[in-house]
Symmetry: C2
Subunit: 415 residues, 2 copies
């Protein structure tokens, strides 16, 4: 019997009516003679409410007790969906991390899954029951609850699908799939029938919030047959898949354009140029737990060099303090910061086979007089930092420049 | 090192400030060089909120999924109190039923504890940590969460105290201990320094809501050194203890007067008197899951008999239907019901050694022209059903008749 893992996010669990609606989605697959495991998030807003309680009393994000508190949201959802299914005449049981034996490391608030013991799930599936697993949670070696970080229920779903060797893993959300760009910025944005794992990973890290990046990496590693679908609208959704040779034949250069307004940049200017400067700066930044995204070091002019890098906006203050200290130590001329920037990225595995993606991008931006502040590239994406005020405009320009809005444009991503 | 189990109820966990206050109570005992295990209830109102969610989506009270949902309230409390303790510099860990291994039967919503494995608690105590256990919950054979019924956290605390062979079990609540009567009815009601287990069990079943009756039975069975104390006011509280010979020497006749307005009575009148009538009626009532409290069958007059019994108000409708059916089958003349009644009880192990408790009670009521509708007695209590409108008056009259309001009245319960 085919086995399908379905995952419902917080919006899909938003209230009693929506949970009943999700139950109908579950039953829709069950009556097709599939075995079903469902993974649920907390009702929308619930994790924040619980986290807020923990912080109010003086808790921190990465703490055993905080994880015990914030994991209750998924526990409630699992119970509620099970009841909704039972009431429709389908036997369902809710299961928690200690029952599914989702073993993780002890990194509270951001734990990694070591192993899943599928025995208890199998036992219930064998009794023809639908198993509803509380997402987001695991247990450490001592049986304490851990949580997997924001969006962790995606990872739970994919990990269970991998452990059960499921035929499909459907991630239900409030959008109809993965889009060529954010439809709230680009009205012409289209749902993609498929997206490659490589692309999805770039998109997840570049501001597209459809799937948690770890869940995509997990699905890629364990070859999970992954789909993103809408809870509310019937439709094919988007398949996240590996690229095959046929796909590559007539592939489009770029499959999506992402916009990320959550970065800020810092520049340390006029640093006396010596070996080891970048190492000194970035090891201090890393020691403080800050993640640097883009880095540019320009060519040394008369023995001085400038270094510019970006961090997330919430890390800016801390990064600035560190940069100012180091600037002093290195006798740099000045340290500047700017949080009025946006990162616009074009993503597509097709770049590997098409030349000129960068030049298409740069000329489209220059035609509208949008200045490019920083550039960073990988094999399948190009990101440009532009002034924040151009964020939406630049996104729309690139979406058009790469013909993403046109239906039947020969893009095998939407054939 | 002495080991103390402390239990905090929903009011004591009512909000962040109160949880911090409870933390100070915990620390107060910890700094006296005690080992501490704390058992917590859900924040007040939380269990009802969660139960309401479960019922809204169509769940029932005694259901696996409902238990998984409503048990989260205690989980959150355990996490919050642990954080509060950690922030004051005292290492604390929250623990759940699957970690403490509180094994129960599978009666969801009203489970009974089979066993507790103290190994994990001991491990944390040995590291000098305060262990904060989520009350109200257990796990069944398959690892599913069960709940112990309303007030179940009391039972958790007492069971853990018994398993750990604790030196003391303090139940913290919003009153200063066990009172001679309900202070909202009888302003002269006094806190008792001690109450005997027998009395406490009668009081718990007669409308005094200080302790869940099962927790008292449990404490009695396992000889737990049990106290009821106030979270908010410093004081000695009330000790629940076994009676000893010295205690009995100068003991007061009655130690408390309870008032219960939650019963209703039914009468089946004019039943042709044959053997087996009472059995027929009460087996039907029991089969429907209804609990009968008092029963009176009067002497048969000319071959006819009347039968009167009481049930809780919420069971009245169902009991009435059953009584009407049986009345027809037995050719009874009529079936009457009345929910405008109250049960007033005088409780005291001293009754065993004092004669005349009943006559004191009856004459006190008759002096105020309060008619006694039904009477039921046990070795240590006398209950009278009176008209509802006399509930408070009758309670005050008896409280005075037994001299419960007087300080230094020679009552060893308050020496």
């Amino acid at each position: 019997m085919p086995l399908i893992v379905q995952k419902f996010g917080g919006t899909s669990m938003g209230n009693i009516e929506r949970i009943k609606h999700a139950a109908m989605r579950v039953i829709g697959e069950k009556i097709k003679n599939n075995e079903i495991v469902v993974v649920v998030s907390a009702m929308s807003g619930e994790t924040n409410r619980l986290l807020d309680l923990a912080l109010q009393i003086g808790g921190s994000h990465n703490n055993l007790a905080t994880d015990m508190i914030i994991s209750t949201g998924e526990q409630v959802s699992a119970g509620l969906l099970s009841i909704a299914l039972n009431n429709k005449g389908y036997e369902a049981v809710p299961m928690l991390a200690h029952q599914v034996k989702i073993k993780t490391d002890g990194s509270y608030g951001n734990a990694r899954i070591f192993s899943i013991d599928i025995e208890n799930i199998k036992k219930e599936l064998d009794k023809n029951k639908i198993v509803v697993v509380a997402g987001f949670q695991g247990i450490d070696d001592s049986g304490y609850i851990t949580t997997l970080g924001r969006g962790g229920s995606d990872t739970t779903a994919v990990a269970i699908a991998a452990a059960l060797n499921a035929d499909r893993c459907d991630i239900f959300t409030d959008v109809e799939g993965v889009y060529t760009s954010d439809p709230s910025i680009v009205p012409e944005a289209r749902r993609l029938d498929k997206v490659y794992f490589d692309e999805m990973i770039e998109m997840s890290s570049l501001g597209a919030k459809v799937l948690q990046i770890r869940s995509v990496e997990f699905a890629m590693k364990y070859k999970v047959n992954l789909f993103v679908k809408s809870t509310f609208v019937d439709g094919p959704g988007t398949q996240i898949k590996f690229s095959s040779k046929e796909d590559n034949m007539e592939e489009l250069q770029v499959s999506s354009v992402a916009c990320d307004k959550d970065e800020a940049k810092l520049s340390i200017r006029g640093i006396p140029d010596k070996p080891g400067i970048a190492a000194a700066i970035f090891s201090s930044i890393a020691d403080a737990g800050l993640v640097v995204d883009m880095i540019i070091q320009n060519i040394s002019v008369e023995g001085f060099t400038d270094l510019t890098f970006t961090v997330t906006k919430k890390d800016l203050k801390k990064a600035l303090e560190i940069a100012q200290n180091i600037g002093k130590q290195l006798n740099a001329k000045e340290v500047l910061s700017d949080d009025k920037i946006a990162k616009i990225s074009a993503i597509g595995v097709g770049m590997r086979n098409h030349f000129g993606t960068a030049s298409t991008m740069f000329s489209a931006l220059s035609k509208e007089n949008i200045n490019i502040i920083m550039i960073s590239t990988s094999e399948i994406k190009i990101s440009c930092i532009v002034e924040l005020k151009y964020a939406e405009l630049a996104t729309r320009i690139l979406h058009e420049a790469f013909n993403l809005g046109l239906k039947n444009n020969g893009n095998c991503n939407n054939k």
